[in-house]
Amino acid sequence: MRIVAEHLTHIYNEGSPFAVKALDDLSLTIEEGEFFGVIGHTGSGKSTFVQYLNGLMRLPSSKKRRKKKGDRTVLQVGEFDLTRKKTDFRALRRKVGMVFQYPESQLFAETVFEDVAFGYKNFAEKKPTAEELERVVRAAIEETGLDYESVRNASPFDLSGGQKRRAAIAGVIVTRPEILVLDEPAAGLDPLGKREVMELLHKLHGDWCKTVVVVSHDMDEIAENCTRVAVFSDGKVLYSEPPRELFKRAETLQALGLDIPLTAKLCAALEKRGVPIDCDFTIEDFVKKTLARKGGESC
């Protein structure tokens, strides 16, 4: 499923003195199969945008939009045209899974099994049989790396921080979404937990969801993981390109108040010293390219 947005505008409290333009004629395409990063400082419109992707944010009716001259809004997620009122948003939400920031705060059921099963039951066309439910819930829980037998009857509130997050993610992927959208999936975890969550996302990207969209502040994670990155600023997309290209714009990004990955800082500092390193800003590649510059004798 491909995501295409063109000329998307969103104004909070439109027509009131508190009107705020969150998205301003935004255009962005995310191809199927990408591990896509969304960055931008607070208030740049990234959360508003991702909420459109599974219909949590809706466009005003086409009647209202026609009143404004020359409305050219396009918002297409796979076969779903989100500009139309009649679109089956239920079906859309099954295909586009959304993991919010601190998803563990949304755990609610008495057992992990019930919590994960909730989403599936909610979206099922007809009531699933006990065997079917057991099968899909087991698959989702095991996919996130939790041990099904030991957690199924446990209270989600008794799990550790990292486990809670996995359980919450299991509750979203249980409907087998094609697109998985995550808002700051690794925030608040310790370094090890962070690495485990990123590894989980790569695993999901490989064998569970075709497309992964991650909103993150962690530029190092973005540089290491994403195929392409969109930079949001004032409701527009400034750049949409691979990290390899994007992080060459160190100064522009810093002027926007954004951080850059450590590798990009090193490359910029080295360039000033007359040692340009052309790498894709992963640690792996940076080390390789730097070592390639090494002369014969060690120093």
């Binding site: 990292g162 608040g188 310790d190 370094p191 090890l192 590798t263 640690i283 080390v287 090494k294």
Partner: protein, 273 residues
């Protein structure tokens, strides 16, 4: 003088999760100490024991020489302020200045003194321009600075930050660390910073690593980071720059462990042509 001292402290939650046993630990007045550890290593327990939010089972805790017990609890809490993790759950008022005033009002200071304390606390945290702002309209970093101002208004001699930066974005984290560093250097406030961001620990004079309720490593940040293998076994990862230094050395480029990107670039530039 010791700002905080744990003598043979034992504590358990009673559910078999883990226990602190015979812990000895101290912080000198004026020190800036980082406590590192993965989630569940006991570092927050340490903070909560220090100001009596949790009651120890055995041993003794002293804060600026005063033993922590029920009688001294309020005296100690005037000297020892804690900033917690979640910026949204520690505000008591809706306007920044009212929130900062809460502490001094509570200990019954005069109106003029409260005014002075608020001025001082907001200036020290760089929050003067938000004096009359709604807390709910502030960014996470600003909210945490307001929380720090609320603690500062009590003129504590020591501050504990219990993962006060964990829920913030990188910019917010920098704001907090800079403010705390300044308070330590200029106001002489002793700081105990509990964190799992290794980068933050780099700024401290001393770092302590906890695992399963025990202190397992101690030293200057660079001494700690040199022992990467050990860190990994305690569920901590090296800061990224440490990983790069290590990999470059493995590839035969002889760079020392440095913490600043500029410095590393200098080292690399001097090694390659």
């Amino acid at each position: 003088m010791k700002a905080l001292e744990f003598q043979n402290v034992s504590f358990s939650y009673g559910d078999g999760a883990f226990a602190i046993e015979n812990l000895n630990f101290s912080v000198e007045e004026g020190e800036f100490v980082a406590v590192l550890g993965h989630n569940g290593s006991g570092k927050s327990t340490l903070a909560r024991l220090s100001d009596g939010l949790l009651t120890l089972d055995k041993g003794e805790i002293r804060c600026f020489g005063i033993p922590l017990n029920e009688k001294n609890l309020l005296t100690i809490r005037k000297d020892l302020g804690i900033v917690f993790q979640n910026p949204d759950s520690q505000a008591v008022a809706s306007i920044v200045e009212d929130d900062v005033a809460f502490g001094p009002e509570n200990i019954g200071l005069s109106r003029e003194e409260i005014g002075k304390r608020i001025d001082f606390a907001l200036r020290a945290t760089g929050m003067e321009e938000f004096r009359r702002s709604m807390l709910s309209r502030l960014s996470g970093g600003q909210k945490q600075r307001a929380a720090i101002a609320g603690v500062l208004a009590l003129k504590p001699r020591m501050m504990i930050l219990d993962e006060a930066t964990a829920m913030l974005d990188p910019k917010g984290r920098r704001e907090i660390v800079e403010v705390v560093k300044k308070l330590n250097e200029e106001e002489g406030i002793t700081v105990l910073m509990i964190t799992h961001f290794m980068e933050e620990a780099m700024l401290c004079g001393r770092a302590v690593v906890m695992n399963r309720g025990e202190i397992v490593m101690q030293g200057t940040p660079s001494e700690i980071f040199e022992r990467h293998e050990e860190l990994l076994t305690f569920g901590l990862a090296l800061p990224r720059i440490g990983v790069i230094c290590k990999r470059l050395r493995e590839g035969g480029l002889n760079v020392p462990d440095v913490l600043d990107p500029e410095e590393l670039a200098k080292e690399i530039a001097s090694c390659v042509s």
